[in-house]
């Protein structure tokens, strides 16, 4: 891990955070589709990242986002969940021949099919956790399911657009 890569990781963290809290926080389509694009940062960590660093990154990021959403702990709890299951999930999805060394599991590196099977379930899990915890104590089942599905699809589409625009093959950001 050289200095350049650390710079990219830290810079990416800050950029995702700022974009999320300053711009995307106000972006809610049809009152249901939330844009939690910062999850993409966690999804696109290099494949060989161990679970413990991932968990710590998720904790810090979740807290920071919670601070601005006034939803203390909810983003954190949901993000920790996908941070924990990310590595086993990547292992399950290992293509024949294994992963290349030092690879980012992005759309450009892994192809559309692989990225969909990788990211969409994680996004749905995140959104399910988030909206169920968030609406605890209310009897809003249908709107919550609407929000979960709409948000997952919206974040997925946004993540594809962002990767096509800002990412290069093999290298991050």
């Amino acid at each position: 891990m050289n200095a350049n890569k650390i710079f990219l990781l830290v810079g990416g963290f800050i950029i995702y955070l700022l974009v999320q809290i300053l711009v995307l926080k106000n972006l809610v389509l049809f009152g249901a589709a939330f844009c939690f694009l910062y999850i993409l940062y966690l999804l696109l960590l290099p494949i060989e990242t161990k679970t413990i660093p991932t968990l710590l990154i998720a904790f810090v990021m979740g807290l920071a986002v919670d601070l601005f959403y006034d939803t203390l702990g909810i983003h954190t709890a949901s993000l920790l969940t996908i941070a924990f299951i990310r590595r086993p999930w990547i292992k399950i999805l290992t293509p024949t021949g294994g992963y290349d060394e030092d690879l980012q599991p992005s759309l450009l590196n892994m192809g559309f099919g692989w990225f969909t099977t990788y990211s969409l379930p994680l996004l749905i899990i995140f959104n399910s956790f988030f909206f169920f915890i968030e609406s605890m104590g209310t009897d809003l089942f249908v709107p919550v399911v609407q929000k979960i599905i709409a948000s997952a699809i919206f974040v997925f589409v946004m993540s594809i657009i962002v990767q096509l625009l800002f990412y290069r093959r093999r290298r991050g950001l």
Binding site: L22, D70, L72, F84, S135, T138
Partner: protein, 279 residues
């Protein structure tokens, strides 16, 4: 012993996950009390500064609308003032001063707002240094906005009326029937009026205002008007939907109101062993 340690070591990622998750859940639970700690929310210094800077940029886009609304409010206030102006030939008798209003008002700017979650909050650009206290009522020219949850030195977090746990004591203006406004989490335009008994005749279109019973808001601040009345599933109460008069999508400046005798009222309630609902 060594085996146990090795076993735990092999589970270290899982244990860390559990630990962090427990911390997160503890934060969720402890934050959900009505007036919680203020460090980890949008009113702490750092996040407040960032949100304030962002608002400085984005407020230019809504200046025109804010101006029109201010002019409207001014016109209304002038009209009201005209009623209180004493004609030169009249005799003014001052009534008992205990009947005078015991409310103090302050103004603030909204720098952060959410409307789409089921527990929404706002952040204001004033805090303890400017005399904002937890528990103050928040409203704007259109109607009730919420209630202050916590303050830091220069910023304050407000529980929006669009929060599924905030109750506002209110009444139907024409018939003086009391109830509580509570948001049901569905649309940011509508809320429910609870605890109106079935025998009450309710007209669609009636105005709902604050009741003044809760000692947070003065009497008569607009909340909305009745949109729909159903019999509902509850055997005792009507199911009333209210169209909120406040447009939460564009709340920009708000007023804060403090009841200067709230403490006295509270201690009176406690002394007489009544439960003050503090809605």
């Amino acid at each position: 012993m060594q085996r146990i340690l090795l076993f735990l070591y092999s589970l270290r990622a899982f244990l860390l996950f559990i630990l962090l998750e427990v911390i997160a859940i503890w934060l969720i639970v402890s934050y959900n009390t009505q007036q919680g700690s203020v460090f980890f929310n949008s009113s702490n210094q750092l996040s407040g500064k960032i949100l304030g800077t962002k608002n400085n940029v984005s407020e230019y886009f809504s200046l025109r609308e804010v101006n029109t609304r201010l002019v409207d409010t001014n016109a209304e206030l002038l009209a009201e003032l005209e009623m209180y102006r004493k004609p030169a030939d009249s005799v003014f008798i001052e009534l008992d001063s205990t009947l005078m209003a015991s409310f103090e008002f302050k103004g603030a700017k909204v720098i952060n707002n959410s409307i789409r979650l089921s527990q929404n909050h706002l952040t204001l650009n004033k805090g303890a240094n400017q005399g904002i206290k937890p528990g103050m009522g928040v409203f704007n020219g259109q109607g009730v906005v919420g209630r202050v949850k916590g303050v830091s030195d220069n910023f304050a977090t407000v529980i929006s009326l669009l929060h599924t746990e905030l109750l506002v004591s209110s009444k139907i203006e024409s018939t003086e029937v009391f109830g509580s406004i509570k948001w049901d989490g569905a649309s940011p335009k509508n809320a429910k009026l609870l605890y109106v008994p079935r025998h009450v005749k309710v007209q669609v279109g009636d105005k709902i205002v604050t009741s003044g019973y809760n000692a947070v808001f003065p009497e008569g601040i607009a909340i909305g008007k009745i949109l729909e009345v159903n019999q509902g599933t509850d055997t005792n109460y009507l199911d009333i939907t209210v169209e909120l008069s406040t447009d939460f999508t564009r709340v920009s400046y708000v007023y804060l109101v403090e009841n200067t005798i709230e403490a006295e009222l509270d201690s009176l309630y406690i002394n007489s062993e009544l439960i003050n609902e503090r809605q």
